[in-house]
Each structure stands twice: as structure tokens, then as C-alpha cells.
């Protein structure tokens, strides 16, 4: 459904204190998501995952490679056709607090795009109201109760559900959820993640979850794929459960190691290591592996040569590391250790 091929995006350097050179947000990223599939894009702030999400939704341009929606390169499409293609791909923002107009009630947030949709599909006004109610129940909200509320009267989780309902007004084929739960209370996150998984199943939507929280990605893409991005480059990719239980790239391992261990319920994974703190970017483009400046396993070879994404093991697993090694870094549930 969505395919990116060798996608590249470079931002001209703004004169911040620590980043005066150009920022290479994406370096030849290739990915593919089919309808009904789920993909988790994992990485830290600034790794390019948000840029990738915005490009795929048509909100950002790219300067190299290609983006295909339903096997059609968006570069070949005219304005009208491109708008139509991008309508199939909807973005869910991180911040449900600023994604809704505080002075308009939920009914308006949904009815405006639905009117346009009704015009496009030759449906009447009665449909608009009915559809708004339908969408609210679909995202797990009580339509009667929610429709005339204002955003400030809803919890973070409820607000994010409204944002999802609004994205569904245009009948998309894919949802790009950019840190869609990171600003919501932990207690309410699971509800929103379950909702995304349900929508994927029931509406056959492709879901791309962009996040730094691997556990969150697992609840949406447990039977899908994860792609780990570091400095605009995919460093590891494969089936979700494999990446979590047997990561081979040290960066993936660092990300998974950094997840807090629920002491009392869990014990540390046997190979867990506390990653190196972030290193200040010197503004120089490293010749070797981009992660070698922070990697505890890196040697001279890693610093002098750049590893390409290549196959690992059997199946569709990919990784870019000169010294790949499976490590079990994820915490183990206490009851599981007792059984073993």
C-alpha cells in the first residue's frame, strides 16, 4: 500500500549551538507496508522517524528516492491525483491537546471533514450526522455523551480517540500514528493501542506506529514488523517478537535495555547493559557506522567503515552491524523465571 524506496531528506542547517551543519534526517530508507499490516518505527527523538511519517502523509517533501502509494509514484501524479492519494494516508499527531480546536465542540471537529466527504461521495446531510455518531462509537466513545463536549472536557485518552475518529472521516487506508500515546497517562495508553489494533483488523487499515516505546509498538504490531531507525537510517528490521526477544544490533539492544525493569514483577534480562549516555554531536559526518560513537562494542573497523543493511538469520530479518550478536536484554517476568 505504502512503499518508500531509498528515501532521503536533508534539512539545511539552522544555527543551533550544537547542530550547525546540515541535518540528514533520512538516509536511503526503504520500507513497505501492505493494507492491514502493522509496522512500528522505533527510534529516539531526532532519528528521522517523524520526518518519515510526515513524508508518507504528504506533509513533507523528500529530496531523494521515491514514495509509492498503491504502487504509484507520487512524483508522477498531478496535484489532484496526489491529494487523492494522500487522503488515503492519515496522520495521528502526538499531542491530542493541540490537535483539536479548543473553541469548537467534538461534533464540529467531525462534521466539517464529513461534509466535504459527503460532497465528494454524493451523500446527504443526514449521513453526516449519522456517520459522526458511528465513528465515535467505533473509537470507543459514547456518541450521545461526547458529541457536544469541548476538547477540555475530555481526558487525554478520549481526546486521542476523537482525533482518530476525525482521521477516519475521510475513509483512509492507512493511519500513521506519531507517538500517539506518549502524552497520554500510562493507565489509558493500552486502551488507545488496543483501539488501533482493532481498527487495523476491522477496517483492514495499515498502521504505522512511530514511537520510542517498543512496548507500545508491540501491542499494535505484535504480528507485524519493527524497523529501528538511528540517525535517519534503518539499523535493524524484522518481525516484532524476534526484534524484542533476540535483537542483534547494539542500538536496538540499548533501546530495549533502557526500558525500566518493573522490579518485583520482573528481573533484568541476562544480557542487559546500560547504554552510553548521548554524545554531543560534533557536527562531523562520521565515515563509519553512525552508532559507533556510542556503541560499547565498536572497534576501529566500525569507526572506519559503514555497515550496509543486510540479511540476518533466516526469514526477512535485516540488520546493519559488523558485529551482530543476539542478546537477551529485555526484562523477564518473575513468574516466567520460576517456571524455567
Amino acid at each position: 500500500m505504502i512503499e518508500v524506496v531509498d528515501l532521503t531528506r536533508t534539512f539545511r542547517g539552522a544555527g543551533g549551538l550544537f547542530a550547525q551543519s546540515d541535518v540528514r534526517a533520512l538516509r536511503k530508507v526503504s520500507l513497505k507496508v501492505e493494507r492491514g499490516a502493522a509496522l512500528g518505527l522505533i527510534g529516539e527523538s531526532g532519528c528521522g522517524k517523524t520526518t518519515l511519517g510526515r513524508i508518507v502523509c504528504g506533509l513533507e517533501t523528500f529530496d531523494g528516492g521515491d514514495l509509492l502509494i498503491d504502487n504509484q509514484s507520487v512524483k508522477t501524479l498531478g496535484d489532484r491525483a496526489r491529494r487523492k492519494a494522500f487522503r488515503k494516508v492519515q496522520l495521528i499527531h502526538q499531542d491530542p491537546y493541540s490537535a483539536l480546536n479548543p473553541t469548537r465542540d467534538i461534533a464540529h471537529a467531525l462534521i466539517d471533514p464529513l461534509r466535504i466527504q459527503a460532497g465528494l461521495t454524493r451523500r446527504d446531510q443526514a449521513w453526516v450526522k449519522r456517520r459522526a455518531m458511528e465513528l465515535l462509537s467505533l473509537v470507543g466513545l459514547d456518541p450521545q455523551e461526547t458529541l457536544y463536549k469541548f476538547p477540555h472536557q475530555l481526558s487525554g485518552g478520549q481526546r486521542q480517540r476523537v482525533v482518530i475518529a476525525r482521521a477516519l472521516t475521510v475513509e483512509p487506508e492507512a493511519l500513521i500514528a506519531d507517538e500517539a500515546v506518549s502524552m497520554i497517562d500510562v493507565s489509558l495508553r493500552l486502551g488507545v493501542l488496543h483501539l488501533l489494533a482493532t481498527l487495523r483488523r476491522e477496517l483492514n487499515l495499515a498502521i504505522v506506529l512511530i514511537t520510542h516505546d517498543v512496548a507500545a509498538a508491540r501491542y499494535v504490531a505484535h504480528d507485524g514488523e519493527l524497523a529501528v531507525i538511528y540517525k535517519g537510517e534503518i539499523v535493524e528490521q524484522g518481525k516484532t517478537d524476534q526484534i524484542i526477544s533476540r535483537p542483534v544490533h547494539p542500538y536496538t539492544q540499548a533501546l530495549l535495555s533502557a526500558v525500566p525493569v518493573l522490579r518485583g514483577l520482573e528481573v533484568e534480562g541476562p544480557d542487559r547493559y546500560i547504554p552510553e549516555p548521548e554524545v554531543q554531536d560534533q557536527g562531523l559526518e562520521p565515515v563509519g557506522c553512525l552508532f559507533s560513537t556510542r556503541c560499547v562494542f565498536a572497534d576501529e573497523h566500525c569507526r572506519g567503515h559503514h555497515p550496509d543493511l543486510s540479511k540476518w538469520g533466516d526469514g526477512d530479518r535485516l540488520m546493519a552491524c559488523f558485529k551482530p550478536q543476539e542478546r537477551r536484554v529485555v526484562a523477564v517476568a518473575v513468574d516466567a523465571t520460576r517456571q524455567a
Binding site: L17, S155, D185, V186, A215, I244, P260, P275
Partner: protein, 335 residues
């Protein structure tokens, strides 16, 4: 590593902060509502105490009250907050209170970028703060700031000369910790210190918090909604809901054997990296708004799966079930 959980009653000399019968209320157009209701809590010297709860549980209000910084339309309606060697801060004069904040107890705010002046360099702001607390020795305070910066793996000279927009989220969070620690307070309150950070920066900030806590013999209070942060950092955890304490226990005990249905539900709702997917269950419903909080009965009953008629009629009392472990649930006491 972690100190052993405290299982005996605290003697007065071990208590750094004692909150007694605290009620904080907000005046609204429809009446006066308690965001904190009759809350009592003794905080052990040298401990890291986590206060966990959802949005609207009153945890941030509690943190503000602990510095007597609740602003209109909120007010401390009842109760006392005693700090060791200071006394009840609800009775302090404005000038003593100003000195108390920063020199005795300091807070690191959630949106730390909003607490830094965008028009001033970090070093200049640090000097401003020191001057307002009567420090004349500019060199000493800058030295202390640089020392703290290095302690937090920040390039000291560059950070002191930087404007806040030139720093990343993780760096700003650490800079606001420098501000909180520069005047050498005994008590540090951290309000959601890692919420805006990604997982690697979070792990780094938590490491730093623990190290500095130990080096400086601090008493640390951590406000959070994330049980992972609690597990990683705190010795003890206080679970709040609708302005009341639902459960209070050593952190590992709470994670292993929570007693209150709310604490159980909070732990069950954590997305996990391993184990069966259906082990994690979303917490149903939404947190109560201030004006929805019932006056009589258990405040959690609307979201509780074990609700019985007694929960509607009688307000449960927070009581000790095993030494060092308090909970406020009728059904727990009966079982």
C-alpha cells in the same frame, strides 16, 4: 543500590517532611472542591518517595502544596506541612517562604523548557537566582553550576553560555535540575522529570537523579504517572486517586503484591515487552474530574470491578495492612 524498605514506624528524627490532614481546594463557579482531601503522609529522610496517579489525581497539586505554592483559585484549606528544622511551612511569611523554596526544598518542573527564560543565557539566570537568595560570590555559584553540569554529563562551559532553545529536551531537563540543586536544598521535588523524554534520555536522567540523591543525601519526592519510573528509582510509592491516598507501600512490594484494586489496575495497564499480550488490560473509564468526586464512599468505586454496596455508603479509611504498607479499601480489609 536501593536501601531496604522501612518496615517499622518512623521516629520523629527520621522524618524529613510530615504532611498532616492536608486539604487543598479549588474555588470554582459551582463551589469549593477538594483536589487534595485530608491527606497525611510522612516522608522518610534520605528516601526516594514516588507519588503516582493519573492526570487529575492531585499529585501535582500535592507537590505545589509541599512548597506552599498553590495559586489562586486553589488554596491550602486545612492541615500542616512540617519540614524538619523549619516547622510548618503553611505559616511562613512570604519572605521566609521565598528563602525556603530553593534553599531548603526545590522543585524540578515537568515542562522544564517553560521554566527557563528564553532571552537569557543559562549562566546569567543561575546568577540571578543566586543573587535573589543573597549569594554574593558569583564565582562560587558558577563553579557549583559547572560542577553539577559535569556531573550530569553536560559540557559545562557551553551550557552556561547557551540559551534554552539551543538545548535538547534531555539537556533542558538536566539544566533545570542544576537550578534546583544549585542552592543545595535538602528536599528535591521532581514533577514528571522524564515524561517528555525518550527512553534512552529517560534512563540517563533517572541514573543521574539516583546518583545525585545519594551523593548529596537528599530526600527526593518524585511525581509520576509511570510505574516504570517508580520501579526504576523509588524506595516507596504512594498511589493517589481523586486527591486521596489509595495505597502506600515499598515500591517492590507494591509491584509484587498490590492490594488496592486501583493499584492492581494501574499495574495491569502497563504495556509490557514480554509475556502474553492479554496480560495487560486497559484501565476502564476515565479519571474523575474535581466536581465529580463523591463526598461519601470510595472515590474509585465507579471504575472498580469489585464494587459492593459498602463502597457507596462508607468512606474507606487508609490503614496499615502489614507494617509499612497502607491501603484504603473495604474489601482488602475484609479478605
Amino acid at each position: 543500590m536501593k536501601s531496604a524498605p522501612l518496615r517499622r514506624p518512623l521516629s520523629d528524627s527520621e522524618i524529613e517532611v510530615s504532611i498532616r490532614g492536608l486539604s487543598v481546594s479549588y474555588q470554582t463557579s459551582t463551589g469549593l472542591y477538594d483536589a487534595i482531601h485530608d491527606l497525611s503522609l510522612a516522608i522518610h529522610r534520605g528516601s526516594i518517595t514516588a507519588i503516582i496517579g493519573e492526570s487529575g489525581s492531585g499529585k501535582s497539586t500535592l507537590a505545589m502544596a509541599m512548597l506552599n505554592s498553590v495559586t489562586f483559585p486553589g488554596q491550602i484549606r486545612m492541615g500542616a506541612i512540617d519540614y524538619a528544622d523549619v516547622g510548618d511551612i503553611t505559616g511562613l511569611s512570604a519572605e521566609s517562604l521565598r528563602r525556603f523554596r530553593g534553599e531548603h526544598a526545590a522543585m524540578v518542573f515537568q515542562a522544564s523548557q517553560d521554566t527557563l527564560n528564553p532571552l537569557k543565557r543559562v549562566g546569567a539566570q543561575l546568577l540571578d537566582m543566586a543573587r535573589s537568595h543573597g549569594h554574593r560570590d558569583r564565582k562560587a555559584i558558577l563553579r557549583e553550576g559547572s560542577l553539577l553540569a559535569e556531573r550530569m554529563s553536560l559540557p559545562a562551559s557551553r551550557v552556561m553560555a547557551a540559551y534554552q532553545h539551543e538545548l535538547s529536551g534531555g539537556m533542558r531537563q538536566r539544566v533545570s535540575m542544576i537550578f534546583a540543586l544549585a542552592l543545595k536544598p535538602r528536599v528535591v521535588l521532581l514533577d514528571e522529570p522524564t515524561t517528555a523524554l525518550d527512553v534512552l534520555s529517560q534512563s540517563h536522567v533517572l541514573q543521574i537523579v539516583r546518583a545525585i540523591h545519594e551523593e548529596r543525601h537528599l530526600t527526593t519526592v518524585l511525581i509520576t504517572h509511570d510505574m516504570g519510573v517508580v520501579a526504576e528509582l523509588s524506595d516507596r510509592v504512594v498511589v493517589m486517586y481523586a486527591g486521596r491516598i489509595m495505597e502506600d507501600a515499598p515500591s517492590q512490594d507494591l509491584l509484587r503484591a498490590p492490594r488496592h484494586p486501583y493499584a492492581k489496575a494501574l499495574i495491569r495497564a502497563i504495556p509490557r515487552l514480554t509475556g502474553p499480550l492479554d496480560r495487560a488490560q486497559a484501565l476502564p473509564g476515565a479519571p474523575l474530574e474535581l466536581r465529580q468526586i463523591p463526598v461519601v464512599g470510595c472515590v474509585f468505586r465507579d471504575r472498580c470491578t469489585l464494587r459492593q454496596s459498602i463502597c457507596d455508603e462508607v468512606t474507606p479509611v487508609l490503614r496499615e495492612v502489614v507494617p509499612g504498607h497502607r491501603t484504603a479499601c473495604h474489601l482488602e480489609v475484609e479478605s
